[in-house]
């Protein structure tokens, strides 16, 4: 599949002005924490970039990630960047179906072997699980991923399910779900977690890959540092209230109305790394904490199993009060028994005491 048009040409054909394009490049530079002088470099690189072939695989997912990407009210440069990258295969978005759809995937793989990007949303039943839990066109998710990965340049795991297993992998994990990186072998994996991820983060990662032709700098969980380098807590506009010790105690008290910190209502911001606090949602309108709801920690591994959403981060998930009481009562019984034993021994010793008089001792000597 040959793509004579460059990205710049495609964007112009879609009616994106030079000004709009440069604004996008400047925004990309700033969110990747690059100096403003890099804007022209990004613009030049994106302008010349050939449309990369992208195969988008959707496995055990809810389509929320695709919704996040496509449901903007007005077309943005980010949308167009996605439109003009060649989405050769996307279950939800493509017009083709059945044999034709699978044919498109196989053709894209063959023609761009070694160069295409694989984007995955959703987890998949692992190699040891029953493959019947999720199949597409009769092909198990596992088989489809392994086939598609063969000629991939890199794989982008979009959403927490693809990145960490997400909801399908939550205890007791009935489908034996695994994350993409568990199966990717030596293929480079970029995790873009979130339930769903911020749209700009997805496009930002793709833009960075196009600009620099290499993978972004990543953290321990293979998340691009440009977007996942700081915790929600550290960038939260309510942080001053946390530091001052001002907390909303319920969802409708004075503190909640005054916009105080939501830590006590279960906010997982301190342990969550994502770009919500800086990039916000719905074209920068707002984000969960600004809307008055604590962060659920959706871009972290095992966020479904990490305790109650409305319990403060430091609260243990188990019934610790019950454990404390039971152990305390047991301890009291043990202590009481030990003391009673000691007293009994003392009494026994007293009963058997054989007093000796000094005269008797002297006689013995």
């Amino acid at each position: 599949m040959a793509y004579p048009k460059t990205l710049g040409e495609s964007l112009r054909a879609h009616g994106v002005s030079r000004r709009g394009f440069l604004k996008f490049c400047a925004a990309t530079a700033s969110m990747m924490a690059l100096p403003p002088t890099m804007t022209s470099a990004i613009a030049a690189a994106l302008e010349q970039a050939r449309r990369p072939s992208v195969i988008w695989l959707s496995f055990q997912e809810c389509t929320g990630c695709t919704e996040s990407l496509t449901r903007s009210h007005s077309p943005t440069v980010e949308d167009l960047i996605l439109d003009v990258i060649s989405l050769d295969y996307h279950h939800t978005l493509q017009a083709a179906s059945g044999e034709a759809a699978e044919h498109a995937r196989e053709e894209a793989m063959r023609e761009n072997f070694g160069h295409y990007l694989v984007v995955v949303d959703g987890s998949l039943p692992g190699p040891d699980a029953n493959p019947g839990y999720s199949t597409i066109a009769g092909i198990s998710n596992y088989q489809m991923l392994m086939e598609t990965l063969e000629g991939a340049a890199a794989v982008v795991a979009v959403g927490t399910c693809a990145a960490f297993g997400g909801l399908p992998k939550a205890d007791p994990n009935p489908t034996g779900a695994v994350a993409v990186q568990a199966l990717a072998g030596d293929k480079p994996v970029i995790n873009v977690p979130g339930c769903p991820p911020v749209p700009m983060v997805i496009t930002g990662v793709l833009a960075q890959y196009l600009t620099f032709g290499k993978l972004p700098e990543m953290d321990r969980y293979n998340r691009p540092l440009a977007f996942f380098g700081q915790s929600i807590h550290d960038r939260c506009y309510r942080r001053p209230f946390y530091d001052k010790g001002l907390f909303a105690q319920t969802f409708d008290d004075e503190g909640a109305r005054a916009g105080w910190c939501l830590y006590r209502l279960g906010c997982k911001g301190p342990s969550t790394y994502n770009a919500c606090a800086t990039m916000r949602w719905n074209a920068g309108t707002s984000w969960p904490v600004e809307a008055g709801h604590p962060c659920l920690g959706c871009s972290e591994p095992k966020f479904w199993d990490a305790g109650g959403f409305y319990d403060a981060l430091s609260v243990p998930p188990g019934n610790t009060g019950g454990t404390l009481l039971a152990a305390g009562v047991s301890g009291a019984i043990i202590g009481g028994a030990a003391a009673a034993l000691a007293k009994r021994r003392q009494k026994g010793d007293e009963a058997q005491r054989q007093p000796v008089k000094i005269d008797e001792l002297e006689q013995k000597l």
Partner: protein, 220 residues
């Protein structure tokens, strides 16, 4: 290698329950035994009250007398600083208050985080100072046992890991937080079986001291 998030969930879940159980069992066993064994009955006619002098001594013995201060000013000042700092960090940090509230159902106002942070830093430095003093002073070194160093370590680690977690000096954060929780759990487990028990027994012992003197009608 264990996943950091699995580690954090283990420290917050099963390990926390084990630590709490061992702590509560050990501490209750020791306290109940101490109270039940009691003291020998005193048949002499009391010359004064026990309660007043008992409680007064709890307060007065918490402040070093002039002689002690002159002999060991470093011990007194550094000891005071880190003991008070430890309790401020433990009891007035908001996440700790939330934890206690979830277990015991009682809560109180906390301090702003930067204040707790500063206190923690001072406490850490004071504890390091105390250790250096223990190692350098010949008498202190001579009378120190393995238990003294163990107790210092298990007290120091929760402070140090807490400071590290708060400032995110270990990546990823779940590992830093998990290490802090684990350090606190080790402290809880070791507490009932070492001289750390003094957290609970010190005031009982001081009360007894005062009470004995009070009964005899002499100044405590």
């Amino acid at each position: 290698m264990i996943d950091p998030m699995d580690f954090l969930l283990w420290t917050k879940g099963p390990m926390f329950d084990w630590a709490i159980a061992i702590f509560a069992l050990g501490m209750m066993a020791r306290l109940v035994e101490i109270f039940m064994l009691g003291r020998k009955p005193n048949y002499a006619e009391p010359r004064g009250s026990e309660w007043g002098p008992g409680f007064r001594t709890i307060l007065t013995r918490s402040v070093a007398d002039a002689g002690t201060f002159q002999r060991a000013p470093f011990n007194v000042v550094i000891g005071m600083i880190w003991h008070i700092g430890f309790f401020i960090a433990l009891l007035l940090f908001i996440p700790h208050i939330e934890l206690i509230y979830s277990v015991l159902g009682i809560r109180w106002p906390g301090l702003p985080n930067p204040a707790v942070d500063a206190v923690t830093a001072i406490t850490i430095l004071a504890m390091i100072g105390a250790l250096i003093h223990r190692l350098r002073n010949p008498v202190m070194r001579h009378i120190s046992t393995f238990e003294d160093y163990l107790v210092w370590t298990v007290t120091f680690l929760p402070l140090m890991t807490g400071y590290i977690a708060y400032h995110r000096l270990i990546d990823p954060y779940p590992l830093a937080l998990g290490l802090h929780i684990l350090a606190a759990e080790i402290f809880l487990i070791v507490l009932p079986f070492t001289k750390l028990t003094h957290i609970f027994t010190v005031f009982i012992a001081r009360w007894y001291n005062g009470a004995i003197f009070g009964r005899k009608g002499v100044a405590s």
